[in-house]
């Protein structure tokens, strides 16, 4: 569905012109420099189900911040680009954003390949990079704390899966992974954690993208007679695989990441198939206030609930937490100081807040805050990675309902 992205060079020129006029008429006070955000997202390519939603969310968040008077008086401007989920295209887009548009931060790179290729560029330019990628090397390559990851690493997801399996008394788990870094990461993360508990995985199947059928893959995994299958997958292939599995007579349970086991999946395969499926995502997500507020405006703009696109909720949180950090660090702070403020505003210690205006007010009063986001509670470890708890949901009356929370 075509979407209007209304922020770009022309409206910027208009607002710049208007502000210049206003400034020339106003008494001599120096206006705070705007903070430019490059929204670099996978609008096309493998990440395309999520990319445009991410851009919409970033724009909504920037609006929210600007409505509340900006971050430390600085207006947020957003310039949007498409990575095409390709490192080569992303590098060129990043260069344009950094060199031509002079952005201060790049938000929302999705695939690990893209984030890893863009990191050297943002690092050299002192630009903040916030991503939703899974690769471990993103944590370790980041030397100056400029890179922040809003998605739990694959290892963390895997560990959560293992906890769930243990809790459910699973004895014969198998893994099924989409053959890319993320899918494999989830399955391998589970295997690592599960074997560390002294257990065994009975089968591990890796399937290729874009195949007309996954019948044989399902057949192989069922032949090992598992009682649970852990998936590292996306919505289209999960749809196909679950249907094949059901038709082939499978009866085992499933653990599926929340970005694949979402309301759309229910529509695609029907509630009956999903009996015994655990959907796992970061908390607080659906129950939080930040999510509820985002969902309202997101649904209006994007035509689908925010719950269908967890990456969009992460993108929203990127803007809000960055804005709160700018607010905390002050108008004249540069990026290296702003990143020092991210943990203070997002990590525990401080009054819990769920929105920018709320947080800004408390910060102006000199209080400590703890921003609880729409995608997770946003507590960052020493690498700048989120350390969320995981919510586990099952289907009740055709809707995903949280049953319990797993802490790792």
């Amino acid at each position: 569905m075509p979407r209007q992205l209304t922020l770009g060079r022309r409206p910027f020129l208009i607002t710049a012109g208007a502000s210049a006029l206003a400034l020339s008429l106003a008494p001599r006070t120096r206006a705070a420099a705007p903070y430019r955000i490059g929204a670099l997202n996978p609008v096309t390519g493998a990440g395309s189900p999520y990319g445009s939603g991410m851009q919409t969310a970033i724009l909504l968040a920037a609006d929210e911040v600007n409505q509340a008077g900006g971050a430390a008086g600085r207006t947020l401007e957003v310039i949007a680009e498409d990575t095409q989920t390709s490192p080569e295209s992303a590098v060129l887009a990043a260069k344009k954003l950094i060199e031509v548009n002079r952005v201060d931060a790049i938000l929302g790179t999705w695939s690990s390949g893209v984030s890893l290729a863009v990191m050297p560029l943002t690092d050299a330019a002192d630009v903040i990079l916030m991503n939703t990628s899974g690769a471990p090397s993103i944590s370790t390559e980041d030397q100056r704390d400029l890179v922040w990851r809003f998605q739990a690493t694959n290892d963390r997801f895997g560990a959560a899966f293992a906890e769930i399996a243990k809790r459910e008394g699973v004895e014969r788990p198998a893994t099924m992974a989409f053959n890319n870094a993320s899918g494999r990461g989830n399955a391998d993360g589970f295997k690592k954690a599960w074997e560390a508990m002294g257990n065994e995985v009975v089968a591990a199947v890796v399937y290729e993208p874009d195949q007309p059928s996954y019948r044989s893959e399902v057949q192989q995994i069922l032949a090992a007679d598992p009682d649970l299958i852990v998936m590292g997958s996306y919505l289209p292939d999960t749809t196909i695989i679950l249907r094949e599995w059901y038709q082939m007579g499978g009866t085992n349970g499933w653990i599926i990441p929340g970005w694949a086991a979402n309301p759309q999946l229910v529509e695609n395969v029907g509630a009956e198939l999903l009996d015994g499926v655990f959907s796992v995502d970061m908390v607080p997500n659906i129950e939080g206030e930040a999510f509820a507020r985002l969902n309202e405006s997101y649904q209006a703009k994007a035509g689908q609930p925010a719950g269908d696109n967890v990456y969009a909720t992460m993108a929203y949180d990127m803007v809000i937490s960055l804005a709160l950090a700018i607010q905390h660090a002050g108008t004249d702070a540069g990026n290296l100081e702003i990143v020092q403020s991210i943990r203070p505003v997002a990590n525990p210690e401080g009054t819990a807040v769920t929105g920018f205006a709320e947080g800004k007010k408390l910060l102006e009063q000199g209080e400590e805050i703890n921003y609880e986001g729409a995608s997770s509670r946003l507590d960052f470890d020493e690498y700048g990675d989120v350390t969320p708890d995981f919510g586990v949901s099952t289907l009740e009356d055709g809707k995903w309902v949280r049953q319990f929370v797993v802490e790792i």
Binding site: E208, D210, S216, Q219, P236, G249, G270
Partner: protein
């Protein structure tokens, strides 16, 4: 790995192979009569799939009607391609038509995704458990889809071999000058060709769409195996293409315990290249000089 396991794999492969056979037939027909490889075949299939989804969205629930809609849509695109592009390339080399067909493929796909986006769509077919007979899994939907594909293939081949129009098409395929000299009207033959190609692609689109999901790349993803099968079967032989498609489908699935799920997709190419080294005209094709 018991025998039953392999039989099940073969059954998977059979339905797969029937779809590949449809694609291979569509490619083979254009190869033989139109004298060029048509890279847009995949996107005719995609159009068919989306047409079916469109009908479903309008409230048409019957797969048969959706399939008919798919066939009509694919036919329309195929005929348009002929009238607007391929007809004007008559007399030019095969390469020109091939390049143009790639252009049509990209164009059709991008127009589709412009309007309907990149997210996949699902046919709302009731999902039922398989019937197990002696360990062999028979899935009802599969049986229907396989039957549909088989019927379509049979009708297409029957048309080619037993009707006057089909004979004319084969005459043009074998020897265009002689065909023209004996009074066969080119225009009518070409239109028949594209109608047939469209129909076959439409069926492939609906079968694929029901079996998996409808997405902008769905046809392009089966194009390569289809080409491999068409060449394996040999240009002069539509029945050969169909047979090769089925064989490739089954071979791919049966090979998975040996080569794994990643290499299996390369299998059709490896087979193709081996056959071409040993027998450059394909299994059933006629020997022609290089170029």
């Amino acid at each position: 790995m018991t025998l039953v396991y392999y039989v099940n794999l073969a059954m998977n492969g059979l339905l797969q192979g029937l779809v590949i056979a449809l694609v291979a037939l569509a490619i083979n027909l254009v190869f033989a009569v139109g004298r060029f490889p048509n890279a847009a075949t995949g996107d005719y299939i995609t159009v068919g799939g989306y047409a079916g989804i469109g009908l479903q969205a309008l409230g048409v629930g019957s797969p048969v009607l959706q399939g008919l809609g798919a066939m009509l849509a694919s036919m329309a695109v195929a005929i348009a391609g002929y009238l607007l592009v391929f007809r004007r390339l008559f007399g030019r080399s095969m390469v020109a038509a091939l390049i143009a067909s790639i252009g049509i493929a990209f164009f059709v796909r991008s127009v589709l995704s412009f309007f309907v986006g990149h997210d996949p769509y699902v046919f709302k077919i009731p999902i039922t458990r398989a019937i197990v007979v002696g360990g062999v899994r028979l899935i009802p939907t599969d049986l229907w889809l396989g039957a549909a594909a088989l019927v379509c293939l049979s009708i297409a081949l029957a048309l080619l071999f037993f009707t006057p129009l089909g004979r004319q098409m084969r005459a043009v395929a074998d020897n265009p000058e002689l065909a023209r000299a004996s009074g066969i009207r080119a225009r009518r033959v070409m239109l028949t060709l594209w109608v047939l190609v469209g129909a076959v692609c439409g069926v492939a689109g609906i079968v694929l769409g029901i079996r998996t999901v409808v997405a902008p790349e769905m046809g392009w993803d089966v194009l390569l195996p289809g080409f491999a099968a068409a060449i394996l079967g040999g240009v002069g032989s539509p029945a050969g293409a169909v047979l090769a498609g089925v064989v490739l489908g089954i071979a791919q699935e049966i090979s998975t315990p040996f080569v794994g799920f990643t290499y299996k997709i390369a299998l059709s190419f490896v087979v193709l290249m081996v056959v071409l080294v040993v027998r450059p005209q394909g299994l059933f094709g006629t020997l022609e000089r290089v170029r």
